[in-house]
């Protein structure tokens, strides 16, 4: 297992990933070793989740080439291996971005994952923090060669808190591990097999458990989203702030990220680390309970610590928050007072476009778009 670190291990293993050598404890997986190096060397992972035991190995995006197994046995491994489930050996040489085979296989996996994906990002609540978007952007091709109808599923209601969109699912199995390891009883799972396999509850039973909301956080795509946040806002228009409260539930860590618009709390999630996983506190993953996630939607419920630091590359960091100093338009200045030609003024096309969403103090609601007659 990837996260079982042998305590009695005498020395660290030396592993070279894309010509960068690092020392890690025996029992570390290649992926976790690469995460220690960070940057482009780290293979993408769609199904592996370091906080969920037994996860990984399924999506095949983290495939890497092992050019030399170890110092003792320097033979290369014939097949590409899943870096999340392969442990390092002393003297192992791994090729990730330096291997054409890996890049080729990864592009193939991305194509496979997107084959039946609806690509409905414009109406998907996950857009902006979706790992499949990032993966497609970084490793995918610009078009698809798939010319057939995409797979669809019958809609299913799995309870008041979680919205299931099976068409978006990439079958990473993370949510089943959450149900197994966090909640006291798993009531959902994978039904059927192959390309018609689907996540479902047993005879449309609602998922109802104190910690079921964490399935939303682990879902890499928009298959499981927060019903209380549904269609409320795009994530990049909301402002993430760190906050905490004293939660009665002993298993809940109470440390969260509030996603605010003005003073309204639109969504509560657990705090994520740089790999998009739940942050750990004192070695324990910071899962949060459903009360914190779904019921505490007032800023006064929380003690606010300050803005969440978001990776500069994330689309969320592109949000135009209030009080932000905008750079001034210089085009007119450099063009001698002449404004550039406006090709199409969308403000006149529809009344909806006349609303400056970014300058609203709160979330946009249907009221915002009502005609002022």
């Amino acid at each position: 297992m990837a996260d079982e670190v042998k305590k009695e291990a005498p020395a660290n293993f030396k592993v070279t990933i894309d010509n960068i050598t690092i020392e890690v404890a025996p029992g570390t997986s290649i992926l976790n070793a690469a995460r220690k190096i960070g940057g482009d060397v780290t293979p993408p992972a769609m199904c592996y989740y370091s906080k969920l035991q037994g996860s990984g190995g399924k999506c095949r995006t983290c495939l890497v080439e092992v050019a030399a197994g170890s110092t003792a046995d320097p033979r290369p491994m014939p097949k590409l291996v899943a870096s999340c489930r392969t442990n390092v050996m002393d003297g192992m040489i791994v090729k990730n971005i330096t291997s054409d085979r890996v890049q080729d296989a990864r592009a193939g996996v991305v194509e496979f994952l997107l084959l039946n994906h609806p690509l409905d990002c414009p109406i998907c609540d996950q857009a902006g923090e979706c790992h499949l978007q990032d993966l497609g952007y970084e490793h995918g091709k610009e078009g698809t060669r798939y010319e057939f109808k995409r797979r669809t599923f019958e809609k299913e209601d799995i309870g008041p808190y979680i919205q299931l969109h099976m068409t978006r699912c990439i079958l990473c199995y993370r949510c089943t591990y959450v149900a197994d390891q966090l909640t006291d009883n798993r009531v959902h799972g994978i039904l059927d097999r192959g390309d018609h396999a689907e996540i479902s509850t047993y005879i449309s039973k609602a998922i109802d458990n104190d910690f079921s909301g964490n399935m939303i956080d682990v879902c890499p795509v928009g298959a499981l989203t927060d019903k209380t946040f549904r269609f409320k806002n795009r994530v990049w228009f909301t402002k993430p702030v760190d906050a905490h409260r004293d939660c009665d539930n002993p298993k809940c860590c109470g440390k969260v990220t509030l996603w605010q618009r003005g003073d309204d709390v639109l969504r509560v999630t657990s705090r994520k680390d740089e790999w998009g996983e739940v942050q750990s506190y004192d070695g324990k993953p910071g899962w949060i309970c459903n009360i914190c996630r779904f019921d505490k939607k007032k800023a006064s419920d929380w003690i606010i610590e300050g803005p969440t630091s978001i990776s500069r590359h994330s689309v969320i960091s592109q949000g135009h928050y209030e009080g932000l100093q905008k750079p001034k338009e210089t085009i007119a200045e450099v063009m001698g007072g002449r404004d550039p030609k406006l090709l199409m003024d969308i403000h006149s096309i529809s009344d909806v476009n006349s609303v400056e969403i970014a300058s609203l103090p709160g979330p946009a609601t249907s009221k915002t778009f009502e005609k002022s007659e």
Partner: protein, 452 residues
């Protein structure tokens, strides 16, 4: 007339029953092993015999047994893989149906060698009636003291249980089989750890094919060295071949691995030639997962040698010009068969049987099926052939279990050897709906370059 070790008694009336089986010399191997040999000696005999796994991969059985971890106080398990679901393979069914005691006998001897006190037969769900046959055989063996506590006074206990699958091809993959046996969803596990270290209920486990375990009986009876004398090179002993398709006599044949493919197809002792006076076009020599070969490459290797029915000879030339022994499902296609349609049928099978766990297999198999259906229906494009090639290339080797490879190989081989038939299907779409491509040049002698 080749030697028969497994099926030589299969036609004796009532051999299915214990009394007849015992009278014909059954359970001698158990007596010999338990009374005169140590478990390690049994393993050593199997090693000496050179017996290779009969389930498809052809891994040396003795070596597999010696890899079994043996920690103190942890039970070990023998699991017999009777989930015979490969299209074209039906040899285990015959063996279990007609001579079930041979399997039971082999299991007791093997369990003794491995130190397993509980052995399981995981049988495919569709073989419902065979479960009854096996359970009757187990009961008879128990009544006669060959199963249960303290067998033959040796102090060795052994129980055998039969477990029915629920109808999934993937459960023939050993780790998926173990998951299913544990009562879970039959998804293949990620290896390592291998079953020899962490198998059934996290205990060391050996998973063997029915025929492999049955072959242990003659090995112990006659000795590993005697057994190794049969066959050629590393292909020792006898192999059950289930022959089907356009041949005169379909059925299960036991061959000692010394005959040529040509002899197997055309001699009256075996398949009896191609049915209805047609001509041989192509053949899948080892069950649907292995590469298909056109007639010319089937009968002679690319080097111009006669192709034999052995592991090595069938694999001669790698996947470029060879195939595999596989599980011995010998499917023969005559000149009225359409390779495109045939490939589509297989692709449909693998799409249906993919477990859906890892992305390349889940999505790729369905994609290949749809493209092949288009070509078959005359809606294909020339670029589809290269696309198919690219898809199979991206599935192969990138999946958790061999099902991805098994889905990719038939498509790859069909395109490799029958590309002009695919092209004809696309360029002559209308005609392809009315008639088949026929034999064309697929049986023409291969030009073998002469080397000085």
């Amino acid at each position: 007339m080749g030697r028969k070790l497994l099926l030589d008694k299969a036609h004796i009336e009532n051999i299915r029953l214990y009394d007849v089986y015992r009278r014909e010399g059954g359970y001698r191997s158990v007596e010999k092993a338990l009374k005169t040999m140590s478990p390690d000696a049994v393993t050593e005999e199997v090693k000496k015999s050179g017996l290779r796994g009969r389930g498809g991969a052809g891994f040396p059985t003795g070596m597999k047994w010696s890899f079994l971890a043996k920690p103190e106080g942890v039970p070990r398990y023998l699991v017999v893989n009777a989930d015979e679901s490969e299209p074209g393979t039906f040899k285990d069914r015959y063996l279990m149906e007609f001579i079930p005691h041979l399997l039971i006998e082999g299991m007791i001897t093997s369990s003794f060698a491995l130190g397993s006190n509980r052995a399981y037969i995981y049988i495919r769900g569709e073989y419902a009636w065979i479960v009854d046959i096996l359970e009757q055989a187990i009961q008879e063996a128990k009544n006669n003291g060959f199963l249960g506590k303290n067998i033959l006074g040796s102090g060795f206990d052994c129980e055998i249980y039969v477990q029915r699958g629920a109808g999934a091809y993937i459960c023939g993959e050993e780790t998926a089989l173990l998951e299913s046996l544990e009562g879970k969803r039959g998804n293949p596990r990620i290896k390592p750890p291998f079953p020899a270290v962490k198998g059934l209920w996290d205990c060391p486990t050996v998973v063997n094919n029915v025929e492999t375990i049955a072959a242990v009986v003659p090995i112990i009876n006659e000795g590993g060295e005697e057994y190794a004398k049969i066959g050629i090179g590393k292909s020792t002993g006898t192999k059950l071949i289930s022959a089907c398709g356009n041949i005169k006599k379909q059925g299960v044949y036991e061959i000692d691995m010394t005959i040529s493919v040509e002899e197997f197809i055309y001699s009256d002792e075996y398949c009896g030639g191609i049915a209805n006076g047609r001509k041989l076009k192509a053949c899948i020599p080892g069950g649907s997962s292995v590469p298909i070969l056109p007639a010319n490459l089937l009968l002679t290797t690319a080097k111009g040698e006669k192709r034999m029915m052995t592991y090595e000879s069938l694999a001669d030339g790698g996947f470029a010009t060879g195939s595999m022994m596989g599980s011995g499902g010998f499917i023969v296609l005559d000149d009225t068969q359409c390779v495109v349609k045939h490939t589509y049928t297989l692709a449909r099978f693998y799409r249906h049987e993919s477990c859906g766990q890892c992305s390349p297999c889940r999505e790729g198999t369905g994609w290949m099926e749809k493209i092949l259906l288009n070509i078959e229906n005359g809606k294909g494009k020339m670029s589809d052939i290269d696309l198919l090639w690219d898809i199979q290339r991206k599935i192969e080797g990138n999946t958790i279990c061999p099902l991805g490879d098994a889905a990719a190989w038939p498509v790859a081989a069909a395109i490799r050897h029958f590309r002009d038939e695919f092209e004809w299907h696309i360029t002559n779409a209308d005609e392809a709906q009315r008639r088949n491509y026929g034999l064309m040049h697929y049986a023409d002698p291969i030009h073998v370059p002469v080397t000085a």
